[in-house]
């Protein structure tokens, strides 16, 4: 870790001192969040005490004691503009859920071919859901976090290439990406620490995905599809899926957002077909009263199987933009966990609050 940081800093020093044409920009985001479970069932059959799992992939879990750690984070982005369309971006994130160990979560080079097309290569956030690739930037969305029932997948980064398009068709703004890559997570946090409670290596190979986003005035739609090959090792032993060493996942997503002057409606509908369908959806209704934005959200996860994984969350909250670069948020979440064998964290009612800022 220190080596990586050192390497990044060295590169930056070279750019700072050596290249008169290299422009370096620092920007960042921080969330200081706290919360606790007000009441919860836990999962007695798995010895899980009352818990609110606010973020699956990084296991942000709140208990009945107030904690500031699960969702607090500090992110720093360094962008080196090397002129003529070439740039390098690195993002270092320190998360409370990982004891604030700073890791490089993004590192990619970007080349702007023309005003419409940009090619990026390196390590990036996987753009599965609408909010996936800026999940860590709390300031950019209204809630404490994008609805947990939807954002449940264990892999959230990929190493590969991404072609990014931005343009216009008539009055419509068009954005799209096509990406290809893989991620080999030697000790996946969600699977190792929460679900299987033993070291689990999770591999997503041959990820091939596309995103198309169209926007006009108050209307926005985002369509996405991605396929990948999943391999898994538990305690070093390869897991077989229906007798096979790998299985194919197919992800489909539609998000529609309506944003009028003050009223807004945010929706997502997703399906992961992984030897059976796993469906997630959410809807949010919010209203901006100047700097105060109250909202309500309903989200759910449903596995198409007998006693499959099934949970839903109803949330109400308020965002207050009390400063030009900072927002205070408070949110109440009520989770229903329906499954017995595939129970996640049980039913719970929780309160979380915090400050998001960008610089």
């Amino acid at each position: 870790m220190m080596k990586k940081l050192y390497w990044l800093l060295t590169v930056n020093c070279i750019l700072f001192t050596g290249a008169s044409y290299g422009e370096i920009n620092f920007s960042g985001f921080t969330s200081i969040n706290a919360g606790k479970v007000l009441s919860g069932s836990g999962v007695p059959q798995y010895d899980i005490p009352p818990t609110f799992l606010a973020d699956y992939p990084i296991v942000s879990a709140y208990s009945e004691d107030i904690s500031f750690k699960p969702e607090s984070l500090f992110g720093l982005q360094i962008n080196a503009d090397l002129a003529e369309g070439l740039s390098m971006t690195g993002q270092i994130v320190a998360r409370g859920a990982n004891d604030f160990d700073a890791t490089i979560e993004w590192a990619y080079i970007s080349y702007e071919i023309n005003e419409h097309w940009t090619i990026q290569a390196g390590k990036k956030r996987l753009p599965l859901f609408y909010y996936s690739d800026f999940y860590d930037v709390g300031y950019a969305y209204v809630w404490m976090r994008p609805p947990a029932d939807n954002y449940t997948w264990q892999i959230f980064n990929y190493n590969g290439v991404n072609a990014l398009y931005s343009g216009e068709i008539g009055d419509w703004s068009v954005m799209g990406n096509l990406y290809y890559g893989e991620e080999d997570d030697k000790e996946n946090k969600l699977l190792s620490e929460f679900f299987f409670k033993e070291p689990t290596r999770e591999i997503w190979r041959d990820m091939l995905g596309g995103v198309l986003q169209l926007n006009k005035d108050w209307f926005e739609v985002r369509l996405t599809h991605m396929t990948y090959k999943n391999e898994r090792y538990r305690k070093g032993e390869q897991v077989l899926f229906d007798g096979e060493t790998s299985r194919t996942g197919k992800f489909y997503g539609v998000a529609v957002n309506l944003d009028f002057d003050n009223l807004f409606i945010l929706t997502e509908l997703n399906r992961l077909d992984l030897n059976g369908n796993l469906d997630t959806s959410m809807i949010t209704l919010g209203y901006r009263f100047d700097t105060i934005t109250p909202y309500v959200t309903y989200s759910q996860f449903e596995e198409d199987a007998e006693d499959g994984e099934q949970h839903d969350t109803t949330s109400v909250g308020v965002r207050w933009d009390f400063h030009s670069s900072a927002a205070f948020k408070v949110q109440f979440d009520k989770v229903n966990d329906e499954s017995f064998d595939l129970a996640v964290a049980g039913d719970s009612e929780s309160i979380t609050f915090g400050i998001d800022l960008v610089f």
Binding site: N25, S110, V137, S166, R288, D321, V358
Partner: protein, 138 residues
């Protein structure tokens, strides 16, 4: 009579407001592209990168604290400062775009736009000079 007073007062306030509040969109005198509010918005939101004549467009913002910036955000982009910051945060931290460069005041904007045919900016209506071309008042 009270009603009349109220109406008169609000009319008076409204007229003061609109006189003080107007911003003028400016480009280089040689720029012959057409502009409307939607096109100007797209340029300042990074959704379009060229003028209607096909030439590259470089939008110039004013500092967050300036009066012209506040008027521009609300009259032209129809969004609050916080909404715009959230919008740009999403693009910056996903590697999809970066916001327009910011300069200090009306005089700086006029100076830069008068020297560069690619630039587009905005200034308070009272600051407008002959060295730039006005393409809209909001």
């Amino acid at each position: 009579m009270i009603l009349f007073k109220k109406v008169f007062l609000s009319l008076l306030l409204l007229s003061c407001y609109s006189v003080n509040a107007e911003v003028v969109i400016i480009v280089h005198p040689s720029n012959s592209s057409s502009f409307d509010q939607s096109e100007i918005s797209k340029l300042f939101l990074g959704k379009a990168k060229s003028f209607s004549d096909g030439n590259q467009a470089v939008p110039l913002n004013q500092d967050e604290s300036s009066a012209a910036r506040k008027e521009f955000d609300s009259n032209v982009l129809s969004k609050s400062g916080s909404q715009l910051k959230a919008y740009w945060s999403k693009l910056i931290f996903t590697g999809k775009g970066s916001p327009p460069k910011e300069v200090g005041n009306d005089a700086d904007v006029i100076d830069l736009v008068s020297k560069n045919p690619s630039m587009i900016g905005y200034v308070g209506a009272a600051s407008l000079t002959d060295s730039v071309k006005s393409v809209g008042k909001f």
